[in-house]
Symmetry: C2
DNA sequence: TTGTAGGCGTTATCAA
DNA sequence: TTGATAACGCCTACAA
């Protein structure tokens, strides 16, 4: 029915303008400035544009002209499916999104797995006005900063890379939090502690244990690590707080309940059981508790268990944990991004040890 | 230290080129085509660019030039925090993201609440190569199509808007699913059924009831509705399956467990309790079960309960429900977007009534 | 109320 | 291996 169907190529403002016998500017105004032309003309132009198959002002061209995209990137070191599955992640995102949304800004989710150079390239090509990193590796942060984009991270890249010392951040003092946990367990008399961590240290597979003898090496690695800075700091803190070198580190592979359950199995089925287990996240800790219950063991009574984060389900499970203001982290990160003038831009939020039934005095 | 600090304005390729005494093209190649120039020159250019504060090729300009953004939009009719909180939503997103990720594409999350014209504008300005709508209102779909973007929806805009009849989609037959539920309950002898829905019909507040007399009006409304098409179809199906006009519709306000709990309270505390309750989502159904348990009632024994979706937690709760392939929906939506040639482009996936302990024969 | 000129920063093409 | 030119599609000035 439409007379002027363009047989090929994209219909542009110029086409619409020439067909209508008006200037390009008038067409532009018809779309963006209704007050700049007669209602009648505007209606005609819009109708004709529609009929011609004009798609409306091109977003990329408009962004180039405007110098901004109205979108903010969120970088994950993990696959995006993790971002949607993990309770910490979704809570952070919800808070971050709420602030962005209120400002009419959109979210661009970017997955940049450690070592994935293509993804790092994609980060370079993403049209965003700023970047927030909930958890990410050093190269991502460097990439974002090299692009001169406002950049906020939510775990501090401590130790490694002095070039990142001045990056904007919203964090907690993970080392102090770890120390609180260690001290708590020590006060309860625990001397034999397993630390359950999510990542794979070097080539360690799931369930691999590292005894005290490896701690020096581990902590040295900490300073060079490209990611997991919060976890490393926590571990260091836990060890400091325990003030005893008899802890063991067990790697779970990934940060999930299922993973914690499996790694927990390894820990529970070995000959010598610890009196306490600290997981570097609630999710892992809850998985460990699953493993305990599966074997008829009761957290607190048989083995004390501690997590990190204080997710809602931690309370339900009676899990002793470190509470950190997850939503506040997301909210502030978004606000720092939206308002470059806002200060301070390096924020350390308070954490709190929440003692519940899962930690009890060590036996004997 | 850097000699050539530009005092103001943005450093561009041209600046770098002139300082280096090479052409703009060479600088461009230094960034994008390492093989097009000597390694030596490339290194020099990159180093100088860095020192000059050049941010790297501008993403918007590059996208304009390339004609694509490598990002796909996901439109929600809800606030983004809902997208991260709701289990159905996160499951769909995880699957959708997985496919996109594998293709190196990014996700742009767009919240377009019903009636929010600004957000609709934002959708027009978003630089994306395609749009998927997990749940969204008609105007959003129209906007996306008007932009001539590949568009896929995951709930069919049935009835309303014949202009949308040919939109690509990945759906289930919600009406048939509803009918299965209705028939199941009817076979069990249930004649007095409450349908718990998430949205607010016209100005109805939370817990407002609509008796059979309003059904005609409700279903007529269905055909004009701008959103919630799946829910409307389900309701219509349930009523058809029950084959009796004695059902009542109760609105919960939003689709959340908490909301289902509260609306469930209204239903349970009224004088006349139904023998069965069908919620249009598992989340609502689980909330209703919470409300029952809170009053010492047992699902199935005291009141039969049915949900929709078959989330993992539905199985744990022994909830009879309609299983739909959530991840498959997300995966296929992404694949349709990424491959415009893929057929068929209107997919109806199978659903299945999963009968569990929460539905039992009606008393007496 | 409408039109004209110019540039936003890149990159494909083709020539040298 | 490198360079000049010409779009890409739009919108801010400013002029009429």
């Amino acid at each position: 029915m439409s007379e002027e169907v363009e047989s090929m190529s994209k219909v542009t403002m110029k086409d619409v303008a020439s067909v209508m016998g008006v200037s390009v500017m008038t067409v532009s105004n018809a779309f963006n400035r209704p007050d700049q032309l007669s209602a009648r003309l505007r209606t005609d132009i819009l109708a004709r544009a529609e009929k011609m198959g004009y798609a409306g002002p091109d977003a990329a061209a408009r962004q180039l002209r405007a110098g901004r995209s109205n979108a903010y990137g969120v970088v994950f070191a993990e696959r995006l499916s993790y971002a949607f599955d993990d309770p910490f992640s979704t809570a952070w995102l919800a808070a971050f999104a709420q602030v962005m949304e209120a400002d009419g800004a959109n979210l661009l989710l970017l997955s940049v797995p450690v070592g994935d150079t293509d993804a790092l390239e994609a980060l370079r090509h993403a049209a965003v006005d700023g970047v927030a990193a909930m958890c990410c590796d050093l190269p991502s942060i460097r990439q974002a900063r090299q692009r001169r984009l406002p950049t906020v991270v939510c775990t501090k890249p401590s130790g490694a890379g002095s070039d990142l010392a001045d990056v904007d951040h919203v964090v907690i003092d993970d080392h102090a939090a770890g120390r609180d946990v260690g001290a708590h367990l020590r006060a309860l008399g625990h001397r034999d502690v397993v630390i359950l961590v999510e990542f794979s240290y070097s080539q360690d597979g799931e369930g691999v244990e590292r005894g005290p003898e490896a701690f020096g090496e581990l902590l040295a690695h900490h300073d060079r690590a490209a990611t997991y800075h919060d976890t490393w700091s926590r571990i260091r803190g836990i060890v400091d707080g325990l003030d005893s070198p008899t802890s063991t580190i067990v790697t779970a592979g990934v940060n999930s309940r299922e993973s914690g359950r499996r790694a927990g199995g390894h820990v529970l089925d070995r000959q010598h059981r610890p009196t306490a287990v600290v997981a570097v996240s609630d999710v892992l800790a809850l998985g460990f508790i699953d493993a305990m219950r599966h074997r008829g063991l009761e957290p607190g009574r048989d083995i004390s268990v501690v997590g990190f984060d204080d997710l809602p389900m931690a309370a339900d499970a009676g899990l002793t944990t470190i509470r950190q203001p997850i939503a506040e982290k997301g909210r502030l990160a978004a606000e720092l991004l939206l308002d470059p003038a806002r200060t301070p831009r390096q924020i350390v939020l308070p954490h709190e040890l929440v003692v519940r039934a899962s930690t009890q005095p060590a036996p004997h």
